[in-house]
Symmetry: C2
Subunit: 244 residues, 2 copies
DNA sequence: GCGCGACAGATTGTATACATGTTGTGCGCA
DNA sequence: TGCGCACAACATGTATACAATCTGTCGCGC
């Protein structure tokens, strides 16, 4: 079996780093399902590293919240049970808003440049309707805002949130109907507004836009979790029922 | 050199687990200073494990925020520079308050029992004026409230905050004058009140007490960072200057 | 005398072999 | 036929040997 090449540009880093990055990406893209076991032997063969560095990678992914480790029972991809969903919706707006505020206060010009580039990649993915790429670039976008915030005490929670948000977002970006496509366009426009607010060091506006962005995302996710009921009158278009 | 035995009861766990727990404890107690390098060979000899599991322990501590890892340059104990202090003070009240609210909402009876036991140990340490034990039991107390909150997205930040709060607290608990001793007694009383509020499922009260607890702690820490100036009139007692 | 480059020691990173523990299977027995 | 125990196959945990990288020092040349 040939090695699974990382889809990103990442050029010439060590095989261990490649493995780390690729596993993160595959988990985010739900290429590896939540709850799946990660077999050390298989993965080490796959990435062409021995088990020793691979296990270190897993330990690290464990620390970042991508996987859960249990003694003598290996690593599993972090699950996304419904009990956690409640926590997710409770916690996300607070952490996102705080991060946006801090990013607007502390951002450096170099970081603005990076953020714009990431957003450009995101827009490209949107144009090409590549769901996985959208979700991944959206992840990078928000992770970069986390970097700007420069708060070592807040970022661990932000990272944990973004993992599951990205995985949930796969469903969002994969959607095909017109309403969803509009929502994605809105989300992209909000990214541009966020860049503006952060670049202009306007914390209040950055928070406002971020919360609007969150509301949009939350609505889409909830719509997915609780999908449109079948129309009571089968002759009526489903869109109407969905609008409730 | 004999093995550094873990001071806690932890009985018969594996040497690797002992190593993990002991390193955490020593970092929290500032027995290993912030910024100190951790030598793999020396530590593996010290704990009687080989470098392989020791490195996994370090990876894990890295994920938890106890140490920072850099490529080909080993592990260092997480530093506590002044740039981060600002973030610490900004972030702590929000995270602590949110955690307290959730703990009051979600706590289970079994967890209440644990919390009371931890608080009992804390009170014992206070009575015996053992600074390191106070700080460690205080850590466990707040970590247990984090468990009660049961929010996987908030707890990473809480854990990161508690690490540095405990390290800063070493100074607090070590203090010797009457004012500080009163503050410690107040802190302990607040713990009892927090248990009450959480047990009674009163989120608002839990938050109020938690914020008061934070304010007390913050004042003590600031007092330490900006110590009392030498009295302009050397004949006057130093306490007066401190009161400003 | 100062700076630069090469070497040596030390430290980290990786691979492989082996030990330990877990899990599934099949046989025997009630 | 159903339950339980033993064993085998497999996966994880650990140790040791080796490779690669970094760091400090010495010596050479400018």
């Amino acid at each position: 079996m040939p090695h699974h090449s990382a889809s990103q540009s990442a050029a010439s880093s060590s095989p261990k780093q490649t493995c780390l990055d690729d596993l993160r990406q595959r988990i985010l893209a739900m290429d590896i399902a939540p709850g799946a076991d990660l077999d050390e032997t298989a993965l080490s063969a796959h990435y062409g590293v021995s088990r020793t560095p691979l296990r270190e990678v897993l330990q690290r992914l464990g620390g970042e919240g991508y996987v859960t480790l249990s003694e003598n029972r290996g690593a599993k991809v972090a699950s996304m049970d419904l009990a956690q969903m409640r926590s997710f919706f409770q916690t996300a707006p607070m952490v996102y808003a705080s991060t946006a505020r801090l990013a607007a206060e502390n951002r450096s010009p170099g970081q603005i440049a990076i953020l714009k580039e990431v957003q450009s990649s995101f827009a490209t993915a949107v144009a090409s309707t590549d769901a996985a790429e959208m979700a991944l670039h959206n992840h990078r976008f928000h992770a970069e805002i986390g970097e700007m915030a420069g708060n070592a005490y807040l970022s661990p929670s932000l990272r944990r949130l973004l993992i599951d948000h990205t995985r949930l977002g796969q469903m969002f970006y994969r959607a095909e109907d017109e309403t969803d496509r509009t929502a994605i366009a809105t989300a992209s426009a909000q990214h541009d507004q966020m860049i503006d607010a952060i670049e202009g060091q306007d914390p209040a506006r950055a928070v406002t836009i971020t919360l609007a962005h969150w509301d949009l995302s939350r609505d889409r996710i909830e719509r997915f979790v609780r999908p449109a009921p079948l129309p009571l009158d089968p002759t009526e278009p489903q869109e109407a029922a969905n609008a409730l």
